[in-house]
Symmetry: C2
């Protein structure tokens, strides 16, 4: 039986949010915890199919996800949310609304993210085929006081995941 | 510790969905169950502020609520959802997606609902000030095989709430 908490991964596209969160989810599920992963793909169909990438739409996206995370968190579920969530003020509002909130910043240089470019999105953004792409023509506002920073261009997925779990333990959510 | 389930109350505006569900929620919370109430008011701010009352918007509303109910239900929460949800096909989709689903039809004559008119909405709809109002100028499609029918114009709130809890017990959710 766990206490509910939302672990909120924020960072540039391709900075490693999903990879690390998936690893954490796997570990916690094996230990019997209730875990939900929330990311763009899982919420798009049911929750945000009408939204694009403008600032307004991004904020609305995060607003809806925050509502879901809040309800799960207060019912003792561990929520691992991975969203670029580039705007500081919107992240602050999510923290305020959810309450039990761990902000994890996957810090990775833009160069490295562009090199990874898992889905070819940076390429499209640089070619002007996608607009408002974070890191290219939309800003990413770095967290000032996240609970945890993961330097994903230096550490392994295993190390990053371990750090997240250690942080959850030290904050007594596990 | 309960098994998760969504109890989905459907029926005309003012047919008693909220009153009965609130009573059920109160009883179950006292017994220590994890309960979430979802209704138009609770989801509007966080989830559906962009939606109106057209068929398209109503369906989108229910789609988003269904996503939330699904996540809560599979994490062992008892969800009491109260929405007019007038369209049969959309309710069927919710049932399919959520899985553990009890459909409760608060059956009440239109005349009685209009007489109650808790928020003065029927009056406004009849005066043409609100469009697409269920029962006035938008249809309500009655459930064909709901798990439970509550005749809220004949039975007391206490009786109706008791029936819901009995049904949950007989289906082994409590």
């Amino acid at each position: 039986m766990s206490k509910g908490v939302t672990v909120w991964f924020t960072g540039l596209p391709c900075s490693g949010k999903t990879t690390v969160a998936d690893r954490v989810a796997e570990t916690l599920k094996k230990k019997g915890y209730k875990v939900e992963r929330l990311d763009g793909d899982t919420v798009r169909k049911g929750l945000t199919s009408d939204l694009g990438f403008s600032k307004k739409d991004r904020d609305e996206n995060i607003k809806r996800v925050t509502f879901v995370a809040k309800l799960l968190t207060r019912n003792d579920v561990i929520v691992l949310a991975t969203f670029v969530s580039p705007y500081k003020e919107r992240r602050r509002l999510s923290r305020e609304e959810i309450g039990s909130f761990i902000e994890v910043y996957t810090r990775c240089s833009l160069e490295e993210c562009m090199k990874r470019d898992v889905k070819g999105m940076y390429k499209k953004a640089l070619a002007g085929e996608i607009k408002d792409f974070t890191g290219v023509d939309d800003p990413y506002e770095e967290p000032e006081n996240p609970e945890l920073i993961l330097d994903t261009d230096k550490e392994s997925v295993e190390e990053s995941a371990r750090k997240v779990i250690d942080k959850m333990m030290s904050l007594r959510y596990l």
